[in-house]
């Protein structure tokens, strides 16, 4: 009977950990997508849609942040958990705070750039960065939906800013509260991953959407202008004149 109870407790503990990790993964995903969207702000591919995507992603991020915070705080306050469990939760806590750090900065930057580059002005002065596609799939990924639905008004670029300011204040306050309530020393946490661990699972990252993996590792293949130049391949560090790129 006792064994059975112990197993139940263990399973419950594992389930809790698993739930935490899933929620953190979700937050991590939304943070990455949000970063991606903010980078596009102020450029020629900035649009009303982008602003709406930003807003929706942001709200999703906040929901996840609140959920994560509640769960982790409760777990860390629980005195009955074992030492191993506690150090694992502390590690998750550090992951959570790092995610929030990125989100916080990105939210503030999106406010700043959003203010600097309003969309509804007679002379558009968005920066021609070379980006031309839309970010709708990125946002869909963040929201975990098949397709994004756009329903905002045409003045979202300015109307959203006030909300954004309020939300930033909320996030800042939440982070302050977190630091007060939870006693975790971040420097005491040891990472599970070693240096270069990301290379071991390269396959899963690179082979998405059926892309040719070799080609994605080449980041700078420069070709000609319409004016006609040589081909330059700067994949390696020194520029090497070559007859086109052998990748893809």
């Amino acid at each position: 009977m006792l064994e059975h109870l112990e197993r139940m407790v263990l399973l419950a503990g594992e389930r809790r950990q698993h739930e935490c990790k899933t929620m953190l993964d979700a937050l991590n995903r939304v943070t990455a997508c949000y970063r991606h969207l903010v980078i596009t702000l102020g450029s020629t591919s900035d649009s009303q849609n982008l602003r709406e995507e930003l807003r929706k992603t942001r709200k999703k991020a906040q929901e996840l942040a609140a959920a994560n915070r509640t769960k982790l705080t409760a777990l860390l306050k629980d005195k009955s958990i074992s030492k191993e469990d506690r150090s694992e939760y502390e590690r998750l806590w550090v992951l959570f705070t790092s995610s929030m750090e990125l989100l916080d900065v990105d939210m503030k930057r999106s406010l700043e750039i959003g203010q600097d580059f309003p969309l509804q002005v007679p002379t558009r002065h968005l920066i021609q960065t070379g980006m031309s596609g839309s970010t709708t799939t990125v946002a869909a990924r963040a929201m975990s939906v098949q397709n994004m639905k756009y329903e905002a008004d045409s003045n979202i670029d300015t109307a959203d800013l006030k909300e954004l300011e309020a939300e930033i204040a909320q996030v800042v306050q939440m982070m302050e509260e977190m630091e007060m309530k939870v006693q975790v020393a971040p420097w005491a946490v040891e990472a599970k991953q070693e240096a270069g661990a990301e290379l071991k699972s390269t396959v899963s990252v690179v082979r998405l959407q059926g892309d040719n993996p070799k080609h994605t590792s080449c980041c700078c293949c420069f070709g000609s202008f319409s004016g006609g130049w040589e081909w330059w391949c700067a994949c390696r560090d020194s520029s090497v004149l070559g007859r086109g790129c052998d990748r893809g």
Binding site: H36, S98, I113, I127, F225
Partner: protein
């Protein structure tokens, strides 16, 4: 915002305003397309375009336009497409592109270590482990420095890569170029500044490396210069000797050796009439006291000014075959404090014994000091050996003395040293022991030998007078 009225122009810094002006659909720079193999990426311009536009817009000469354009590149508002690491503006057909506002340099948003770590990890994945030297170094450094959040770095790097997979190829390429340009500005390669190289290597290697990086990244040059100036300033700062800073330590060190504060074990002879304390501390005692031996470790001068300390030190030096140093020092002291008439003779002896080439107890004095001393020997005076003595003193202080303190000889002395117990003090510390007046020395001599021992005579005067054979006042 009020309808129909456009918001005020953004409050951007001057460089940013120039960049924004370049975007004007009518008056801005005319963009071209960049054609890669099958991908076409819009919004590229040549260095020439930039210079010409600046000249026209601001009515300036080509030189100034080139300078302004160069500034824009150096600060990361425009990045080169052909040689990404060469952050200069070339007034030719070299292609450039505008950087996205998120990656503009900003004092308010300095490049963070976390972001750099994520970037390097992404690059590591994309290049399948083939990072450039300085990037590899930075990667390893960061892995140590922010190790506690490294799992997050890996997680976020993977997710950011997955997010960028959602974009079309052209946009993905642009994104990678943008990021690379940003980090080339904010974390430029700094191979030239590695202090690890030895003097010999530094001469050879740094030349080539500096050339390389100056060709590739002019910003490194600027950083190097400021670093050199900073180091020069650092050299000029005054440094205080630790012996002076630690002056407070002096009184703490000597606290337990101070008879006033701590008493002298076993007891203060002046108070208790017990001379054990002096007896234990003579110059010829075989086993010194603990306090005394400890004092020798405070300062070299303490050791030398205690004759017993000198003796024990000499024993150690004899084992090390460097006893001549101490002998020389003692001989010099003798000259300094000895009789005036004997100085020339002593000086000659010292020269013969210690300084002459092939001397039996030759001491190692540097050539400059030796020259000066030999000069002075022609007219010997009390202080002629001072320089040489000082030289040998410091030699012993820096070399033999620390080793002596660590030696077994000294450690044994400490272990065997006597630590006499404090005698029990009487309840009333001010109570004096009975004093007896000592007999008249003149009278004592005539009689039988006075009782030995300190502490007063036990014979009373009356008894004394009585014992006199014929002392009668007539």
């Amino acid at each position: 915002p009020v309808l129909g009225v456009s918001p005020p122009p953004p409050a951007l810094r001057p460089m940013e305003q120039v960049i924004v002006a370049m975007q004007d659909p009518d008056l801005g720079i005319k963009m071209k397309n960049q054609r890669l193999l099958i991908t076409v990426i819009p919004h590229a311009m040549t260095g020439n375009d930039i210079v010409e536009w600046l000249m026209k817009k601001y009515s300036i000469m080509e030189e100034e336009a080139l300078h302004v354009g160069d500034l824009l590149v150096r600060h990361g508002y425009i990045y080169p497409l052909k040689e990404p690491r060469n952050l200069v503006l070339r007034p030719d057909e070299s292609p450039y592109r505008f950087q996205t506002p998120y990656f503009w340099s900003s004092q308010q948003w300095p490049a963070s270590e976390l972001d750099y770590a994520i970037y390097l990890t992404k690059k590591n994945i994309r290049k399948q482990g083939q990072l450039i030297d300085y990037e590899k170094e930075n990667y390893n450094l960061l892995h140590k420095r922010i190790n506690h959040t490294w799992d997050f770095v890996v997680m976020q790097a993977k997710e950011q890569l997955r997010a960028s997979k959602q974009r079309r190829k052209a946009d993905r390429i642009v994104l990678e170029c943008q990021e690379q340009a940003y980090w080339l500005i904010n974390r430029p390669p700094v191979e030239c500044l590695t202090p690890r190289l030895s003097q010999r290597d530094r001469g050879k290697q740094s030349n080539t490396k500096c050339e390389h990086s100056s060709r590739m990244c002019p910003i490194t040059h600027i950083t190097k210069r400021t670093l050199v100036e900073h180091l020069k300033k650092a050299l000029g700062r005054s440094r205080v000797k630790s012996s002076i800073c630690l002056e407070r330590y002096y009184s703490e060190q000597y606290f337990s050796h101070d008879p006033m504060m701590h008493g002298c074990p076993p007891s203060n002879p002046w108070i208790t009439d017990d001379i054990t304390h002096w007896a234990l501390n003579t110059n010829t005692v075989s086993t010194p006291t603990k306090l005394r031996v400890e004092r020798w470790s405070f300062r070299f001068m303490e050791l030398l000014s205690d004759p017993l300390g000198r003796l024990k030190f000499m024993e150690y030096l004899e084992k090390e075959f460097s006893a001549e140093n101490l002998c020389f020092w003692e001989a010099c002291e003798d000259i300094r404090h000895g009789e005036n008439s004997r100085i020339p003779q002593k000086v000659q002896e010292v020269y013969k014994q210690f300084l002459a080439p092939g001397a039996s107890k030759w001491v190692n004095v540097d050539s400059k000091t030796m020259e000066k001393t030999l000069e002075g020997l022609r007219r010997p005076n009390r202080f002629v050996m001072d320089d040489a003595q000082m030289h040998i003193y410091f030699l012993m202080k820096k070399d033999s003395y620390p080793r002596y303190l660590k030696s077994d000889l000294y450690k044994n002395l400490l272990v065997k040293a006597i630590a006499p117990q404090e005698t029990k003090r009487s309840v009333f510390p001010f109570m004096r022991r009975h004093r007896h007046s000592s007999p008249n020395p003149a009278l004592v001599d005539e009689l039988t030998a006075a009782p030995r021992g300190y502490g007063g005579c036990t014979v009373s005067l009356l008894q004394l007078y009585d014992s006199l054979p014929s002392f009668n006042c007539s």
